[in-house]
Symmetry: C2
Subunit: 107 residues, 2 copies
């Protein structure tokens, strides 16, 4: 037996869990919402809605869009977005390490 | 902002989280799988499958069934089932308390 933990940040509604993290990571890696959506087998519209919700709840933009030039249409993470992701993933790892230890204590 | 944690115990597959706990609690309270299923708006068959999976993964029975007499058909938790539930809910509370504290540290 083992333990599995899901960590979600909530505001007015739940808005930041492993799915949003993975999506933003995909956008960081590919520079494209389209490509990251496809990788996660989610519609572009759904991904966009997820990102918009996170931006509404936190009050800052996660993505910038560069227009024109050879990088036309490329999506990049904002600094604030990057910091939020780093805090989420560090906190998630922290809680999971504690959960593993706690599971062994109880079971 | 706040944090929400879901704690699930896994074996060959995930088999014990807040849903199974609530279902078993409902059976404990009502003495009836039928009544507990209805309360959770789940089909009797689905509930039965969930309980059978937990029994397969842990290797013990969560429920006894008393046949005949005035309590005919009543479902009760086994002692082992009750202990497992208590351990799960105590561990879950422990992890959630740590998660709340950790969230405040990171955010």
């Amino acid at each position: 037996m083992d333990i599995k933990i899901k960590t979600v940040i909530t505001g007015e509604e739940s808005f930041f869990g492993p799915g949003v993290y993975e999506l933003l990571k995909g956008i960081e890696d590919t520079g494209s919402i389209q490509a990251a959506s496809a990788e996660m087998r989610m519609s572009y519209t759904k991904c966009w809605r997820i990102i918009k919700r996170a931006e509404r709840e936190t009050g800052f933009a996660f993505l910038t869009r560069k227009k024109g030039g050879k990088d036309g249409g490329k999506s990049e993470l904002t600094e604030e977005g990057r910091v939020f992701m780093q805090k989420y993933i560090a906190m998630d790892a922290d809680i999971k390490a504690y959960a593993d230890k706690t599971f062994k204590k109880y079971f």
